[in-house]
């Protein structure tokens, strides 16, 4: 049962082969057994979960066979970046280590309305700043395929939890690859929707113009089901898009005949691990066998995406994180002589090194006299990158390539070298800068570690991306592989 994807669990619940309480209990037992190994969760609440599961079972009983949400009673975990009323919401920071959210994020509200049973909050890089989960105040998450390796970041807890089947699915957020990169490194399917499709209300801000929530699950079909529940207009987020609701499953069964897949040459150049490259090439051959055409495309400004990102994201973060000042909530230094010292000590103690580094970079690039050279320039680069994609999508339907240049790396391997760490997001960042939807699906292994294939679509092409991924998953079983874990 634990190995079953969402769609099968949903059917089992609908056919009353199992109750939500039984299902949730199964997963809680697995969490209790394996989480000490993985550290994928920051908070687990058995009592709240079982109460919600009972409510879900009661709702199903009341429905008397009427159609209910396919997610009713399904165990689920939220990344600890989403505020959930009455739940500790830490963002993996000492700053918010004891912060209990008094309200629900839109994503939490939507998923609860769809009937999922929240079992806990997953670990992550502090304030979503990191690619390895090593920046969490609550300690790193381990990669379930190799406990000496990182799970990726920042949604590493959600990725590891889904990979190890501690939950069938979880939420994540993606600012520069934070859903796709850990999905790739842990061997699961993760989708970052078009910017504005999922509301950011209640999602603790890292870089507002890049942040986007999305589903992380075992398959494209599961992600489609989850996105149906998660997406939707929210008047409380001014950047939320007011468009008609979509059924993201509507194209899943379409054959891929004639689908034009663009392969950007910049994503297959120097820096890409040869074995990863070979794995990706083999996956692309599978797509060709499914009827798709492979087309060479170019994203000439791709090389500028990492530098542009590391100006824009820290700039926004430096301002977004200014509210953590110890005045109203969160950590406050125990002793201080005056206001300035209260700020200094509170923030020195409350934030970890990577967060501080990005606040410093962001403060610097926005400073008087540097704004034009950095922030303004980066915004112009951002437009060039978006224009590259528009040009590419004039001759292809989807873009594919590696999600990451290498499989999961070892703990400590890159933590001393921020730039090397930043380069692990080299293929994912551009989609955030352009606001495009991107996903990662498992497509093979290198040294026993999963490899992810990235799919990038034009704005609002989620259904098409899910279709391609689903057709691939019908003929492959990479997404069904479960890491052998013993407590």
């Amino acid at each position: 049962m634990i190995a079953a994807p969402l769609t099968e669990l949903s059917a089992a619940l609908a056919e009353k082969r199992i109750s939500s309480v039984e299902l949730v209990t199964l997963y809680l037992e697995r969490i209790e057994k394996l989480n000490p190994l993985l550290n994928a969760f920051i908070t687990i609440d058995r009592e709240k979960a079982l109460t919600a599961a009972q409510a879900a079972d009661a709702q199903r009983a009341r429905a008397k066979g009427e159609v209910v949400s396919p997610l009713l009673g399904i165990p689920f975990a939220h990344k600890d970046i989403f505020c959930a009323k009455g739940w500790r919401t830490t963002c993996a920071s000492r700053m918010l280590a004891n912060f209990v959210a008094p309200y629900d994020a839109h994503v939490v509200e939507k998923m609860a309305a769809a009937g999922v049973v929240m079992v806990g909050k997953t670990n992550m890089d502090e304030f979503a700043m990191g690619s390895s989960n090593e920046t969490s105040y609550f300690g790193p998450v381990k990669n379930p395929w190799n406990l000496d390796c990182v799970p990726g970041g920042s949604s590493g807890g959600s990725a590891a939890a889904v990979a190890a089947r501690l939950v069938p699915a979880a939420s994540g957020t993606d600012t520069g690859g934070s859903i796709r990169q850990p999905a790739a490194l842990c061997g699961i399917t993760g989708l970052k929707p078009t910017y504005g499709v999922v509301s950011r209300f209640g999602m603790i801000a890292f870089a507002s113009s890049l942040d986007q929530g999305g589903p992380m699950a075992q398959s494209a079909a599961d992600c489609a089901l989850l996105l149906n529940a998660m997406a939707g207009f929210d008047a409380r987020d001014s950047t939320s898009l007011d468009r008609p609701a979509e059924d993201y499953r509507r194209e899943l069964d379409k054959p891929l005949t004639g689908l034009r897949i663009g392969l950007p040459k910049e994503y297959f150049g120097a820096g890409l691990d040869a074995r990863v490259s070979a794995t990706i090439t083999e996956a692309l051959a599978e797509f060709r066998r499914l009827g798709a055409d492979l087309i060479d495309v170019s994203l000439p400004n791709a090389g500028l995406s990492v530098p542009a990102y590391y100006v824009i994201a820290p700039a926004e973060a430096s301002s977004n994180l200014a509210r953590y000042d110890g005045v109203r909530y969160g950590h406050r230094a125990r002793e201080y002589r005056d206001l300035i010292e209260m700020y200094e000590k509170t923030r020195a103690e409350g934030f970890g090194a990577e967060v501080k580094r990005r606040i410093l970079i962001g403060t610097y690039v926005l400073s008087h006299g540097y704004y034009d050279a950095y922030y303004l320039k980066a915004q112009k680069v951002r437009r060039l990158i978006a224009a590259d994609f528009s040009a590419a999508f004039a001759c292809c339907d989807l873009i594919m390539g590696p999600t990451t240049p290498t499989p999961a790396f070892r703990f400590g391997e890159k933590s001393a070298d921020p730039v090397a760490m930043y380069l692990s997001d080299i293929y994912t960042i551009a989609a955030n800068l352009a606001g495009l939807p991107g996903m990662s699906i498992p497509c093979g292994f290198v040294d026993g570690l999963p490899v992810g294939l990235q799919i990038i679509g034009p704005w609002f092409a989620e259904a098409r991306m899910l279709n391609a991924a689903h057709q691939y998953q019908l003929v492959t079983d990479w997404h069904r592989r479960i890491p052998p874990l013993t407590p």
Partner: protein, 478 residues
């Protein structure tokens, strides 16, 4: 050689909206601390701002009133700085592209008409308040005001004296209250002024300015500028240079003092707020608001002069507030346009004096325009003498009758003009005052007044004094 004073004002106009500019919390003044601060106002993790369109409507009205350019697309920016009463660590304001640019305010200073040009007016949110008293060495934070919408109006340095600055500020104040976009309550901080002051030798480039922060009364504005100008001139004449800085005015001592440099050494790191889309204002939206705009004070003043034949002074006084102007027009409508001057006199005279004595504004006037008109009509048709009119006014003020006619009827105050009724009173007065009769006949015109007075007294004030004088004259010279 003389000095020329150069003044520009930056005024924070608190907009009269029900809800805050980026949240749904109420803006009413005086609630218990932090009771009107929602999750967004206190900047909880994860919250986002949503623009309140009512604040934009206020800005558009102002732009139309001052003839400024209303930007089809303006941008909200973050002004970053740390302060305990600034919950997000940044203020959402407008920087490079304000909603309104240009425009002007026309006002009179003595007999002269003056024009002050505006640089811009932009929308922003207010901060909370730091409460330094009552906490024994600690500071309390009240975030009720955090997120209250403000329109910051920045003038060109077009003013040349403290009096001119005050006259401009008063005109701006009257305008925003007139437009209904601000309650104008200066004590509650609804209209706060920063004054940029410098001095120079005439013809020379602008001197270095100092900014006097947060003046919340016209009197303080006048005093602060006067002190600052004197101080700057003294410094320059002593051969010292003026340093650009921010100063605070202490009303108790009447002096301005520079703030510590640490408090002002800010690099605000402005950048466009990624949580908010650019503010787009369509020509159709502007047209819709323009159609709903009240007539502006300038236009109304001119119309009062032409339509009602009022002197410029009267027209100016009556258009000093929209409520007063409306009161006047409603009274004229009921009393007849021919009585417009009389209406103006009554409003500017008796009504104003009485309101003043009771510390009331025209909005709280117990007398309705219809009641005042009923009184003025009975004076015009000779029913009421001016003495009786004052008594009727008093009775109406005290709510003793529905209108003038009801009071006249109830008290039998109708002026008596029937000669057969007055005749015996005339005879009696002549018989009782032989001395006055003699003096009048001897050519002493004044003696007649005494006789008229006697008749009036005997009639209980109901006789018409002109008629009495005429009848007496006829009788005595006959």
């Amino acid at each position: 050689m003389s000095w020329e004073v150069v003044i520009g004002l930056e005024t924070h106009v608190q907009l009269k909206t029900q809800a805050k500019i980026f949240s749904g919390a109420a803006t009413a003044f005086g609630a218990e601390p932090n009771r009107q601060a929602c999750a967004i106002d206190i900047a909880l993790p994860g919250v986002l701002p949503v623009l309140n369109r009512a604040a934009v409507v206020c800005a558009i009205k102002f732009g139309l009133a001052v003839g400024g350019h209303i930007a089809p697309r303006s941008v909200f920016a973050r002004k970053n700085y740390f302060y305990p009463d600034l919950p997000k660590g940044y203020q959402i304001s407008q920087y490079e592209t304000p909603v309104i640019s240009g425009g002007r305010i026309v006002f009179t200073l003595g007999e002269q008409e003056k024009t002050v040009r505006l640089i811009r007016a932009h929308l922003e949110e207010d901060a909370g308040k730091s409460l330094h008293e009552d906490f024994h060495g600690k500071t309390g934070i009240d975030l009720n005001r955090a997120g209250t919408p403000l329109l910051e109006v920045v003038s060109e340095p077009d003013m040349r004296s403290a009096s001119e600055a005050v006259a401009f500020a008063k005109a701006l104040h009257a305008l925003v209250v007139w437009l209904g976009i601000c309650d104008g309550n200066m004590q509650e901080g609804s209209f706060r002024i920063d004054a940029n002051v410098s001095v120079r030798r005439p013809g020379e480039p602008l001197g270095t300015r100092r900014e006097i922060k947060n003046l919340n009364s016209f009197r303080f504005l006048q005093q602060a500028i006067e002190y600052e100008v004197g101080w700057q001139i003294a410094e320059l004449e002593e051969g010292r240079a003026i340093e650009q800085t921010t100063v605070l005015f202490d009303p108790a001592s009447g002096v301005t003092r520079a703030m510590r440099s640490k408090e002002e050494a800010h690099d605000y790191r402005y950048f466009p707020d990624p949580d908010l889309l650019p503010l787009e204002i369509s020509p159709a939206w502007i047209a819709q608001i323009a159609a709903e705009m009240p007539e502006l004070p300038d236009a109304m003043r001119t119309r009062f002069m032409h339509a009602y034949g009022l002197p410029a002074y009267d027209a100016g006084v009556l258009t000093s507030s929209l409520a007063l102007a409306r009161f006047f027009e409603q009274t004229v409508a009921a009393a007849g346009a021919a009585n417009a001057k009389a209406v103006a006199n009554w409003i500017m005279g008796e009504v104003a004096a009485r309101l003043n004595r009771e510390e009331k504004t025209i909005e709280a006037c117990p007398l309705t325009p219809n009641q005042l008109a009923s009184l003025i009509r009975r004076i015009a048709d000779g029913t009421l003498s001016s003495k009786l009119a004052k008594q009727v006014f008093e009775a109406l003020w005290m709510g003793e009758g529905e209108n003038a006619d009801a009071i006249i009827e109830a008290r039998g105050w109708k002026q008596v003009s029937d000669t057969t009724l007055i005749e015996p009173l005339l005879e009696e007065a002549i018989a009782r005052n032989p001395k006055s009769v003699e003096e009048f006949r001897a050519g002493k015109e004044k003696a007649l007044n005494a006789l008229v007075g006697q008749v009036m007294k005997a009639s209980g004030g109901r006789a018409n004094p002109q008629q009495v004088a005429e009848l007496l004259r006829k009788k005595l010279s006959g």
